[in-house]
Every structure is written in structure tokens, then in C-alpha cells.
């Protein structure tokens, strides 16, 4: 009977989910296949020339950014959770804002700020004389700075949550055992935050490793950038796939690390009652110091870049930048992202539903397969689709379809993370109760299931939309000829150092991201 509540999933649903999971893993498998079947000569040539440099560049950047984000994220979280000062609530929110800056936007602002003849150099030379030099944005230090400013909110957010959830009893216990305040911090508080810190650092590293926008504008050679160059500059698919495989393995390590430490953190939560630590009130001196520190960080990461973008946009608009072409870019972006988000939700639903309702090994595996996008940096996924489509379906090559597929593969994990918990709260019992109250299958879905999952699905859609909106490398590689998006315009114009021209698109991207960022953060925000 079709209307009965079933013990096994309906076959069409299972077949669909299995097919989708297969298709999503195809790019990864295909890249691995390409790399492993590449001529041994390609491997040895790359080992001899590019790989050591690229690996060490990527690793050093990851280490530098992780260290920087750790210091900024943990100290800022510590200050807003443990101290009471004027404007604390505002800072608590504001420190998340840098996440709204795509890396390539921040990178392009900093190429201007730190460029020769730029405002920072002028100020410095006014201070120490005309011989004064500052660090260039297009260097290891500059790239590290830009990426750090863009990623520290990950560490800040997770550390803040960990600190808020920390049972004060642990710290009181340490004091009762004779440990001083400082000793308690290092022996108890920080170790208890360790899972959150490591998880957020893994996230940061994953982000750095797969970033293309900033490193390409700052001309810093990482694996991701090199893959892109192999595809565009040298048309060397074999070399590109070898580098891609290395990159995937690199990313995989940190993805597994992140998962593992998130798992562990559940042992660190206490049962029973717990008290929120009291905030220590700050005097005027403390308030000034904390405010100065936060202002410096937020100013560098968000406020100054935004102000600069506004200033450039005003100048650019005055010169007539908001023409029909600009509207066309907005339309292209909205169309692509809207399609990707909508199809992402449609494709993700059966996967998440099957795994939460019938968690058989196969169904869970299908769901896990959908997460491969996480370890598939933009250029890698683009490479796989490029080669696949040119072999299998050349007529789709260079079409909107291939772009939408690339987005879905890449951003489905982000969507699934909100769809999964939403579907999990719909237990079979709820539907059974609805059925027992005389509702048919479709009416019980409409009146019980849908209202429960709606919010989670909206969040998923918004997330996938925004990620697609900001996407750069796959769009650059796969877009139809002459089909530019906002992100692509920013990158193209910034590469040529047309700062003013790039500003309206960049500003629009930042502004569009803000509400979604708030939506995302407020999901598990606890003001306390």
C-alpha cells in the first residue's frame, strides 16, 4: 500500500538518491583517476619543479593564517565573554562582520592600501621620511595578513561558543585545588576549549587551502592557484589533475581533523546544572584598551575596506558605472545562484531525508558522498567537469548548466548542514500522530513536515545562493563566453588594478552577504 508508513524507503527515492550521490562524487573520482593515470614523467617533472615549492607555500600560508586567526579569534572571544565594557554587545556582533568580505575583495582593497604610493606607505613616509618602506600585500606576510583578517571570525565564533558553554565549576574546581587565575587559564580553560579551537583552525586552514581569489590577486603561489594556472595558462590537464589530487588530500586531512574534534567536544559538555561565568566589569582604562584592540582589528578587516569601497563606488557611479551592463552582471549572478540554490535544495532533500529516516549504511554513505564538495576546491571541481563534459557532452560545454552543476557539487555540503538537522526533528512519530488524527499522507506532509523543515530549508537555500554568488574560480573557468558575474567582474577589474571600476560590484557582494551572515550567525547565537 502506498499510503502506509513504510519500513523501507520507496524505491524511486532510493534510486534517485543513489544516482545523485554517484554523480556528485564523479568529479572527485575522475580527478583522482586522471591524476593516477597520468604519465609517470608528469609526476616526476612536477616533483622536481613545482610541488615542493607549492606544498611549502601552501603549508606556510596555512600555518601563518592559523596562528594569526588563533591569536585574534581566541583573545577577542575571551574579552567579549569574560569582561563587561561599554559597547560589548555591539562588538560581540560586529566582530563577525569580516566574514561578509569575500577574500578577493579584501585582497584587492589591500593591494591598494599597502601598494607603493598607497595611503599606508604615504603615512609611513610622512613619519620616517621618503625612504620608508612597508610590507607589500603581494608577499607572504601580506597574503597572510589578508587571509587572517578574513578568517579569524571562524575562530572567534567557535571560541566564543565554547567559552559560553564552559561550566564555571571547572574553573572553580581548579581554584579549590589551589591553582591561581593564570594557572587555571592554561591548565583548565584553554585545554577545555581545545576541541573548539582545533575545529575552527581546521576550518580556517581548509578555507585557506582552497582559496583562489585572494592568492590569485596577491600573486602568491599555492596549490589551488597553480591548478588554475595549469588549466588556463598551459592547458596541461595531467599536471593540473596531479596537483589537484595533492590539494584534495591536503584538504581531506583538515576536514577529518575538524570532524574528529567536533565529535570529541561532546565529552567536554557537562551534564546537570551549570553557571555562566560572571563578566568582570572593566574600568575606563580596560574599556579603552579593549575598544582600541577591537577597533584596530575590525577596522582593518571590515570598516576601512568597506568605507574605501563606498568611496570608490560613489566615484565610479558618478562616472556612470551603473549602466545596462552592470544590471546584466547582477542578473547573471542572481540567475546562476538562484538556479544553483534551488536545485541544490531539490537534490539534497532526498539524500538528507533518506539518511535521517532510514539510516541504513547505504543511505548514510550516499549522504556522506554529497559532502565531497568540501574537499574539492573550486578549480579542481571545475577541472573535473571541464574534462568530463568535453568527453561526454561537448554540447553542454561552456553553458550555464555546467556552471550550475559545479556550484551544486561545491556548495551542497553547506546546504545539507542546515537541511539535515531540520529533517531530523521530524520523527516518524509526528507523522504517525498526524495520520492517526485522520490526515492523509500528503496533508500530513503539508501540515506537519513542511512547517517543521521550512526554516532549515530557507537557511540552506540562502547559504547556497550566497556561496554561489561569491564563487570565483569555477565561474572563471566554466562560464559561457561573455557571461560575467559580479564576482568575475570584481576579479577581472581588480587584476588590472581598476580599483574604482571594481568597487560597485564588490560593495554589492558585501551588502548582499550581510543579512545572510546575520541569519546564519543568529541560528546558534546565545547572547547570554
Amino acid at each position: 500500500m502506498t499510503t502506509a508508513i513504510q519500513r523501507t524507503p520507496p524505491p524511486p527515492l532510493a534510486v534517485f538518491a543513489f544516482t545523485v550521490a554517484g554523480l556528485i562524487t564523479l568529479p572527485l573520482l575522475y580527478v583522482s583517476y586522471l591524476a593516477l593515470s597520468a604519465d609517470f614523467a608528469v609526476w616526476s617533472r612536477l616533483w622536481a619543479t613545482r610541488i615542493p615549492e607549492l606544498l611549502s607555500n601552501t603549508a606556510w600560508l596555512a600555518v601563518g593564517v592559523a596562528a594569526g586567526s588563533f591569536v585574534l579569534g581566541v583573545t577577542l572571544a575571551w574579552l567579549v565573554v569574560r569582561f563587561e565594557f561599554l559597547g560589548r554587545r555591539v562588538w560581540e556582533w560586529a566582530l563577525v562582520l569580516p566574514l561578509a568580505m569575500p577574500t578577493y575583495v579584501l585582497a584587492y582593497v589591500y593591494t591598494h592600501l599597502l601598494g607603493s604610493g598607497g595611503p599606508v606607505e604615504e603615512a609611513w613616509q610622512a613619519l620616517v621620511g621618503p625612504e620608508g618602506r612597508i610590507l607589500s600585500a603581494q608577499s607572504y606576510a601580506g597574503t597572510t595578513l589578508v587571509m587572517t583578517l578574513d578568517t579569524f571570525p571562524f575562530v572567534y565564533l567557535l571560541s566564543r561558543a565554547a567559552l559560553l558553554n564552559l561550566n564555571v565549576s571547572y574553573e572553580e574546581m581548579a581554584r579549590a585545588c589551589g591553582a591561581s587565575r593564570l594557572s587555571t587559564l592554561f591548565r583548565v580553560t584553554l585545554p577545555l576549549m581545545r576541541p573548539a579551537i582545533v575545529a575552527s583552525l581546521s576550518l580556517v586552514i581548509l578555507y585557506v587551502v582552497s582559496d583562489f581569489g585572494a592568492v590569485s590577486l596577491l600573486r602568491y603561489q599555492t596549490l589551488t592557484y597553480a591548478v588554475y594556472q595549469q588549466i588556463t595558462g598551459r592547458y596541461d590537464q595531467a599536471a593540473a589533475s596531479v596537483l589537484s589530487l595533492l590539494l584534495v588530500l591536503f584538504a581531506l586531512i583538515f576536514l577529518v581533523a575538524e570532524r574528529w574534534f567536533r565529535q570529541r567536544s561532546r565529552f567536554y559538555q557537562t551534564i546537570g546544572r551549570y553557571r555562566i561565568p560572571e563578566r568582570k566589569p572593566c574600568g575606563p582604562v580596560g574599556t579603552i584598551l579593549i575598544t582600541a584592540y577591537s577597533t584596530l582589528v575590525l577596522g582593518a578587516a571590515f570598516v576601512i575596506p568597506t568605507l574605501l569601497l563606498i568611496q570608490w563606488s560613489v566615484a565610479s557611479v558618478a562616472q556612470g558605472a551603473l549602466d545596462a551592463r552592470f544590471v546584466g552582471f547582477i542578473w547573471n549572478s542572481a540567475l546562476l545562484s538562484g538556479l544553483a540554490a534551488t536545485f541544490g535544495v531539490l537534490v539534497g532533500t532526498p539524500l538528507a531525508y533518506l539518511a535521517s529516516r532510514w539510516p541504513s549504511r547505504l543511505n548514510v554513505l550516499c549522504l556522506q558522498a554529497a559532502y565531497t564538495g568540501y574537499v574539492l576546491p573550486g578549480p579542481v571541481g571545475a577541472l573535473a567537469l571541464l574534462v568530463l563534459f568535453s568527453h561526454l557532452a561537448p554540447f553542454w560545454y561552456g553553458s550555464v548548466t555546467i556552471l550550475v552543476i559545479a556550484y551544486i557539487v561545491h556548495f551542497l555540503p553547506a546546504g545539507l548542514q542546515s537541511m539535515e538537522p531540520a529533517l531530523q526533528q521530524v520523527t516518524p512519530n509526528l507523522e504517525e500522530v498526524a495520520r492517526s488524527l485522520g490526515l492523509g499522507l500528503f496533508r500530513s506532509i503539508r501540515r506537519v513536515t513542511l512547517p517543521l523543515v521550512r526554516n532549515g530549508f530557507i537557511v540552506a537555500w540562502v547559504l547556497m545562493f550566497l556561496q554561489s554568488l561569491k564563487e570565483l574560480p569555477a565561474t572563471l573557468l566554466l562560464r559561457p563566453v561573455g557571461f560575467d558575474t559580479l564576482a568575475v567582474r570584481v576579479w577581472l577589474e581588480a587584476s588590472e588594478e581598476y580599483y574604482q571600476l571594481a568597487a560597485p560590484s564588490a560593495l554589492l557582494l558585501v551588502l548582499l552577504t550581510l543579512p545572510a551572515l546575520m541569519l546564519l550567525v543568529s541560528k546558534d547565537w546565545r547572547a547570554a
Binding site: M173, A176, A179, S180, L192, T270, I271
Partner: protein
């Protein structure tokens, strides 16, 4: 059953003067918000090796008192002395880490990132590595945790976690051990055995301890003396027997066990009530309106044909039958009978009161406390 009244009235251990005082609170007041003290003017003391219980309903200030002793909360009035040293006063707060108090939290607060042995050794940094190992081993033996030293807290049962928490607190050889509802997270079937184990351990090590609980059975089973708290005030500080038999306030009487309050009037040096006369031990004036506190185990029922006192309900409790009895006036009183003495509901009975001592309160005091001894409509329905 019949308590020795002379020792009860003194409410002291015979050797009190001789033994040394480890902890003393003098009129300590602590307030989280100005003007609303969480505890006010609490005075109590603990002697070496004594086990004190802080007993009261939730929100009565018992945990606050414990936190004041530990030095987690400052006081705004009074003093706290540990081993004769002033540790808390208005404007003075010796930090917890300098007090050498052992602490066992309700949820144990075992450090989740440390193994059992590392948890126990946490407070032993001042010792050499060898001494530390020796001390940890001694604690493991004492609490029966040998074999568990390399486990993490989440790999232990609730009872094992409690023992680790205890071992960690005792390892640093504390001046006083503070236990905040240590049995509330355990399976109720296990608590009887665990109470006994803890009691034996504290006795064996001659540890001075303060235990916070809301369960009077737990307090009676463990304590040398009990401090009953209500609304931040100390209601009574005495031995368990005195608390039970000679409660000093209606609140204490009601909180530590079932109690009925029967109104009476003092006439000719006796307290005359509906269920008989009681000696006027406290020396009320003739004509004074008082209430007599009666516990169910002081009252027995005997069936009698012509009585207008009737059994309204019977509750079977395994070891006893608890009868609810309606008096002719409409007052309700309870009687505890052997579990084999079964009388049907509606049986007419007369009461035998076997009280060796009388606990009397002013009727005004009862009204203030909010307990209304006058019959309500439900109670009168069962009578003629």
C-alpha cells in the same frame, strides 16, 4: 524511640568544648543583588572530624553558604574563620586557592581533558613527582579506583565519577571538605550504599566535612549536626534527633518529616486540645492559644464503635500504613501503623497519643509561616 531529652536540649556533642573548631561562620551575610541577601546572618561552626549538613529547600541559601565557605562568593557582613584564620569579611576575601578547601560539586566537574590519575593529581603541583605518585596511589586505593587511573571521566559510571571527585578533593589533604548535593546525580537505588561508603570514608580519615542536601533522610543518615536553612536564614542548628523531635520552628517541623499541627488552649498548666491534654513544657500563660506538633508515629488508632473520628484514607507504604484521620472538628491528623494493621476507610476510631515530649508553637507563628491548621472544606466532607 524515646530520645534522651537531656542531651537533646543541649544540642551539643559531649566533647564539643574539647575538640578544636575548624570552621566558624559569624553572622555571615551574602547578597548577589544589593538589598536582597541570599543568606543573612548565618552563624555556625564545625569541629575537627565533624560532618555537618546544610539542609533546606531549593533556593534557601544552602549552596550559597557553601560557596561563601569556599571563597567563591564574598560576604557583605559577618566573618568566616577557617582554622582560626579570618578568611572572609566585608571587604576581605582570601582567594579560594589559598584556603585549602576540598570541593565536590553536584556534577563533580571532573576535568574532561584529564585522565583519572591526572584529575586526582591536579592540586598536587607543590609535591615532587614521587610524592605525587604516592599520594595519587593512596587516594586510588582509598576510594577503590585502582585500575581506573588511565580512564577519562566520560568512561566512568556516575558512582565512579563521584569517587574520583572525592579522591581529587581529599588528595590535597584539605582543611575542610565541601560537598554540594553529591548524591543527586546518582541512581536512587545506589545512594543508600554510597552514603554509607562516604560516611565510613570521612570517619576513617577524620575529615571535617560540610554536605549540602535537600533530602532530610540523607541529612539524618549522615550528619553529626544539621543546619536547617529557609529563605536565607538559619532556622535551627542541632543534632538530627533534636531537629526531628524538637524542631524550633514550624518550618523545621514540617520540612524534616510529616507533622500535624493541632490547635489548643493552655488551661490549668495543661495544653487542652481536641485529641487530649499535653504538658505545657514551654511555660505558656493560661489562656494562650497554641498549636501542638504531632508526628504520625506518635499516634495510634484503635477501632471504636461510637467515635465520631473516622479514617478518611489509607496509604500503604510497604513498611507502614499511613492513615489520614478526620477529627470531629474537621482537623486532619495522620497516624503511622504497622503494615499489617489494616482498617478499611470509614472505620470509626479513637486515638492514642504516645508523645514523650510536646512541641508547642504560637498560633500566630503558624499563621505567619503560612500553614493553615484550620479545616478546609475538603477535610470536613468526610466527617458527620
Amino acid at each position: 524511640m524515646v530520645p534522651d531529652l537531656t542531651s537533646l536540649e543541649q544540642g551539643k556533642r559531649p566533647d564539643e568544648e574539647a575538640s578544636s573548631i575548624v570552621l566558624e561562620l559569624r553572622k555571615s551575610t551574602c547578597a548577589y543583588e544589593a538589598g536582597r541577601p541570599a543568606i543573612s546572618e548565618i552563624s555556625l561552626c564545625a569541629h575537627k572530624g565533624e560532618l555537618l549538613c546544610l539542609l533546606g529547600p531549593s533556593g534557601c541559601g544552602k549552596t550559597t553558604t557553601l560557596r561563601v565557605i569556599a571563597g567563591f562568593e564574598p560576604i557583605i557582613g559577618g566573618e568566616v574563620y577557617l582554622e582560626g584564620q579570618l578568611v572572609s569579611a566585608a571587604g576581605l576575601l582570601v582567594p579560594t586557592e589559598q584556603r585549602r578547601v576540598g570541593m565536590v560539586f553536584q556534577e563533580y566537574a571532573l576535568f574532561p581533558h584529564l585522565r583519572v590519575a591526572e584529575n586526582i593529581a591536579f592540586g598536587l603541583r607543590h609535591l615532587s613527582a614521587d610524592q605525587r605518585t604516592t599520594q595519587v596511589h593512596a587516594m586510588l586505593v582509598m576510594t577503590g579506583l585502582i585500575g581506573f587511573e588511565r580512564r577519562y571521566p566520560h568512561e566512568l559510571s556516575g558512582g565512579q565519577q563521584q569517587r574520583v571527585a572525592l579522591a581529587r578533593a581529599l588528595a590535597q589533604n584539605p582543611v575542610i571538605l565541601l560537598l554540594d548535593e553529591p548524591f543527586s546525580n546518582l541512581d536512587p537505588d545506589m545512594t543508600g550504599k554510597m552514603r554509607q561508603d562516604l560516611h565510613d570514608l570521612l570517619r576513617r580519615t577524620n575529615t571535617t566535612a560540610i554536605l549540602v542536601t535537600h533530602d532530610h533522610d540523607e541529612a539524618f543518615a549522615m550528619a553529626d549536626r544539621i543546619a536547617v536553612l529557609n529563605n536565607g536564614c538559619l532556622e535551627q542548628f542541632d543534632t538530627p534527633e533534636a531537629i526531628y523531635h524538637m524542631p524550633s520552628t514550624p518550618f523545621v517541623a514540617d520540612f524534616v518529616g510529616q507533622a500535624d499541627f493541632i490547635p489548643g488552649v493552655v488551661e490549668n498548666g495543661k495544653v487542652v486540645t481536641e485529641i487530649g491534654e499535653f504538658p505545657n513544657q514551654v511555660g505558656y500563660q493560661g489562656g494562650a492559644k497554641v498549636v501542638v506538633m504531632i508526628r504520625p508515629d506518635d499516634i495510634h488508632v484503635v477501632p471504636a464503635e461510637n467515635s465520631s473520628t473516622r479514617i478518611l484514607a489509607r496509604q500503604f507504604r510497604g513498611s507502614e500504613n499511613l492513615y489520614t484521620i478526620g477529627l470531629p472538628s474537621g482537623h486532619i491528623i495522620h497516624s503511622s501503623e504497622a503494615s499489617t494493621n489494616v482498617y478499611p476507610v470509614g472505620t470509626r476510631v479513637v486515638l492514642e497519643v504516645i508523645a514523650t515530649h510536646t512541641v508547642l508553637f504560637d498560633q500566630d507563628k503558624i499563621q505567619q509561616w503560612g500553614h493553615n491548621p484550620l479545616p478546609d472544606s475538603d477535610a470536613t466532607r468526610g466527617t458527620d
